[in-house]
């Protein structure tokens, strides 16, 4: 199931996207990273005029290899979003700005909270300030995280669920959301916030845990190592295959009904980590093992989480096209082909 075929379905909201980005000037921050580079591929396929801005901060997932096969068709600037001088000329003239640069490791945000503040909070503030002053008609898409909710008080989590972040990353990403929404309200900057849940798939940094457990499990499965589950593995999660997330980003930015609003992404069902690791283990022939909860993780663990994306669906028609088995299969296929680069 490749998204390009899915888009031919009658009435699919994705159909309208086929030509929408053709010739459009688009900036992708963090465009060398996991989701960013997949977005870049989707934009290039659609004929967009793509500029990538990426600081290649070690551990944040940026990798020039991620765009190697489209490198000649895009412009790449290695610079940090918090560098306003570098940012200004890149923002000017863009029609769409997808802001994916950031730090997403919950653990790293606790170990170095100030770096997380700089990358997720300050950089976003500078981005909206630059947009407001230099390009107020650009459409901004800000990627946030379900981590802003903290430990769910009710399930599934909708966008009105209280935000009680349980780590520094969640706090800073929430502040970043607020900046976007404020600049929409006060300065008419057209900004959308999407709260992503566990995203997995091609080009993910899977060799460490900084992009979440979904990636780590992929790595271990591909290496034939046992999949380690903390504390029993019955925690429920929802998973999105990266192509579905990319479609959501493209749809949201193209939908005026989304501007100034916050939306969850999510899946049609939740899986326990045991179920996740069994599906993956079967694809790769890897075992599952249960290990005790490490104390530093227990402190910021959120228990079960799954969110509802119904609000986003009502406004855009988006639905995930990949179920977990399909998505994991596509991911394993990709990483098997690209083993030499990603599975080291």
């Amino acid at each position: 199931m490749h998204p390009d075929t899915l888009m031919d379905g009658v009435g699919s909201p994705l159909r309208g996207l086929e030509r929408f980005y053709q010739g459009r000037r688009v900036l992708v921050t963090g465009g060398l990273g996991f989701i960013g580079s997949n977005l870049v591929h989707a934009l290039v396929r659609r004929g967009a005029d793509v500029t990538v801005m990426d600081a290649l901060i070690p551990q944040h997932g940026g990798d020039e290899y991620n765009v190697a096969d489209v490198r000649s068709r895009i412009r790449v600037e290695i610079a940090d979003v918090s560098d306003s001088d570098a940012l200004k000329p890149l923002v000017e003239g863009q029609e769409f700005i997808f802001h994916l640069a950031g730090q997403m490791s919950h653990g790293d945000s606790m170990r170095n909270p100030e770096l997380d503040l700089g990358v997720n909070c300050l950089a976003t503030l500078r981005l909206v300030e630059v947009c407001r002053h230099c390009n107020p008609s650009a459409i901004l898409l800000n990627t946030s995280t379900r981590q802003v909710y903290g430990k769910p008080q009710r399930l599934p989590v909708d966008e009105d669920h209280p935000t009680v972040p349980v780590d520094v990353n969640g706090i800073n990403k929430l502040a970043a959301e607020y900046y976007h929404l404020l600049y929409h309200r006060v300065y008419d900057v057209r900004s959308v916030v999407l709260r992503l849940t566990n995203t997995y798939g091609p080009r993910q940094q899977i060799s460490n845990d900084r992009q979440g457990m979904a990636g780590v499990f992929l790595y271990r499965a591909l290496k034939g190592l046992p999949l380690r589950l903390y504390g029993g593995g019955d925690q429920l999660r929802d998973f999105n295959y990266v192509d579905d997330v990319v479609n959501a980003l493209l749809l949201a930015a193209a939908s005026p009904g989304c501007y100034g609003k916050v939306f969850n992404l999510g899946a049609d069902r939740a899986y326990s980590l045991v179920q996740y690791s069994r599906i993956l283990g079967e694809l790769c022939g890897a075992e599952t093992e249960i290990v005790p909860f490490p104390s530093d993780r227990k402190l910021i663990d959120i228990g079960d989480y799954y969110g509802t994306y119904q609000r986003f669906r009502y406004v855009t028609g988006w639905q995930p096209q990949y179920d977990l088995a399909d998505g994991l299969k596509a991911s394993v296929d990709f990483f098997s082909r690209e083993r030499e680069h990603y599975v080291v």
Copy 2:
């Protein structure tokens, strides 16, 4: 009505405070500012061993004159909370840390959002980090603002009301709250967050609007200038006299039931701005005039606001002792005596 007499009331929760801070080592950040300096006076009266840290950032309200009459009984360090090297030795050995340093002008936060982020967000993160590492047993009191709620969705506003800040200041103060609560949850730092509403009284910076309209009105009334009301003046607000706020700070930090929690302050009734200006005008012989809403203020106006402090009352017994007429009378008396310094 002086608070020292109020505390003799049988069963008053304030009574127990009389000796509680005697000999206690206390750091007050922003201790040269409006509320901070009033707190310093209250602590000195109670025999506490007080250190003040204040950066004297122009426009933030810090003024050495505010503590001139107790200057020989306290230690004062002119330094910024975001300067971790300066902060560490001041935090070490303290039993209580009252964090009042900050920027509170909504308008300034929109004009210079990055400064607001540095002063309210980054400085707070550094403070909790230093506490966690250098003095994890200290009790922290963080002053926040009703501004985190934004435009009320229901009245009176309680602590579970959604937080939808309508200016950069509200966003950064909210992030600061989250840091405190997170460090409580994860590292057992004993931290309390109080959300203050419109506070007024002695030592307030009243010669500009950076500490709110209550102060500006006082200034104009004391100068005999007409009191200007935007857009009709029927917006409702709740007001706390600064001595009541100081008592709340002292009670909260002394109440283990408060640690790790967020509480509103508030008043027993709300007043429209017209009512406020009439009470004040009668005290000073000043007229009231209605002017159109300036466009930059309308954007961040929150309409009616009044909060309930019932949660804080249940845990600590606190109630405001000054009604608006008493508090304004006490304020006018203070500023009339100190006219030469404050009403210039």
